[in-house]
């Protein structure tokens, strides 16, 4: 249904479970993809699995210069950046009263500030093209809060406010800016949980199971599509009904 042939997409955090699935979904819909992340090996493996329209662009998102260089590198290798998916994110959990400045700043810097910089970096090309899709991967936690994740929740809620403001500014230029907010998604991270822990989590989810990376990717694919041109400034919650927002 969604055809991204001829579109060029930059995806951060593509070495992770969700980012990899997003890259695959966009690629399978015909897009050329630039895979970014800190770990080169899984990026190369994913690019090899996808095929010749996949490019690898390693980037350390905690480094300002690297972040600012990334959109330019992506535009050089693909010709343009029509779709930007800010998926990379880190956690450094701690109780609020124990949270250090460093734990706060590093999470805000990678999750929120780098997202802002990458958005800025791709806007010029999108404005000229009068077409662009920005999809920022937020989190259910940004809307509901979560103990031990004051920094992470702040960064993810910050993304939503930022995306809405930017969506206002560039809507007349054919550029949409939206968020996808995943709930509990089965990835390498959740594989480590015990069955007992998983049962407890699933009991809180009306769908009674964790989501899959592919189910997040499907939401991103929609928001990246031509068909989603009238959807902007919104947050698409994909959480099995865990929080109905």
């Amino acid at each position: 249904m969604f055809d991204l042939t001829g579109k060029n997409a930059l995806i951060t955090g593509a070495s992770g479970g969700i980012g990899g699935a997003i890259a695959k979904a966009l690629y399978d819909a015909g897009a050329t993809v630039a895979l970014s992340g800190t770990r080169v090996e899984p990026l190369e493996a994913l690019a090899a699995e996808l095929g010749e329209r996949a490019h690898v662009l390693p980037c350390n998102l905690s480094d300002k210069e690297s972040v600012e260089a990334l959109p330019k590198q992506a535009a050089e290798v693909m010709g343009s950046v029509d779709i930007l998916v800010n998926n990379a994110g880190i956690t450094r959990d701690n109780l609020f009263m124990r949270m250090s400045d460093d734990e706060w700043e590093s999470v805000l810097n990678v999750n929120l500030t780098s997202t802002m910089r990458l958005c800025k970096g791709v806007l010029r090309g999108m404005m000229k093209a009068r077409w662009g899709r920005i999809v920022n991967i937020s989190s259910i936690v940004g809307a509901t809060g979560n103990p031990g994740q004051g920094n992470y929740a702040a960064s993810k809620a910050g993304m939503v406010g930022m995306s809405k403001s930017l969506a206002y500014e560039v809507a007349t230029r054919g550029i949409t800016v939206n968020c996808v907010a995943p709930g509990f998604i089965a990835t390498a991270m959740t594989d480590k949980l015990t069955d007992d822990q998983k049962d407890k989590i699933n009991a809180q989810i009306p769908s009674a199971r964790m989501g899959t990376p592919e189910e997040i990717a499907a939401a991103v694919l929609y928001l990246a599509s031509q068909e989603a041109g009238y959807t902007t400034g919104t947050t698409l919650h994909v959480n099995g009904g865990m929080a109905m927002l």
Binding site: R124, M127, K128, E169, V170, T172, R173
Partner: protein
């Protein structure tokens, strides 16, 4: 009129879709030529490309009129 002024005027006319004779020395992009703030950002982007110069954000904010633009670009290029 200088070559620079001609080229600036062409960009303004195309971008803002206005009559050429409306683009006078003191014509304000926003107040007289119907630009919104995003249009002014795009105009600056177009000037940068046309003249191969870089216009920093703080300088861009001072370019309010056609005359401002011609003056800045003349000095920068």
């Amino acid at each position: 009129m200088s070559d620079i002024a001609d080229r600036v005027k062409k960009i303004v006319v195309e971008h803002l879709d206005v009559e050429e004779d409306k683009v006078t020395e003191t014509a304000s992009f926003i107040d007289d030529l119907g630009a919104d703030s995003l249009d002014t950002v795009e105009l600056v982007m177009a000037f940068e490309e046309e003249f191969g110069i870089e216009i920093p954000d703080d300088a861009a904010e001072t370019i309010q009129t056609f005359g401002d633009a011609v003056k800045f670009i003349t000095e920068a290029s």
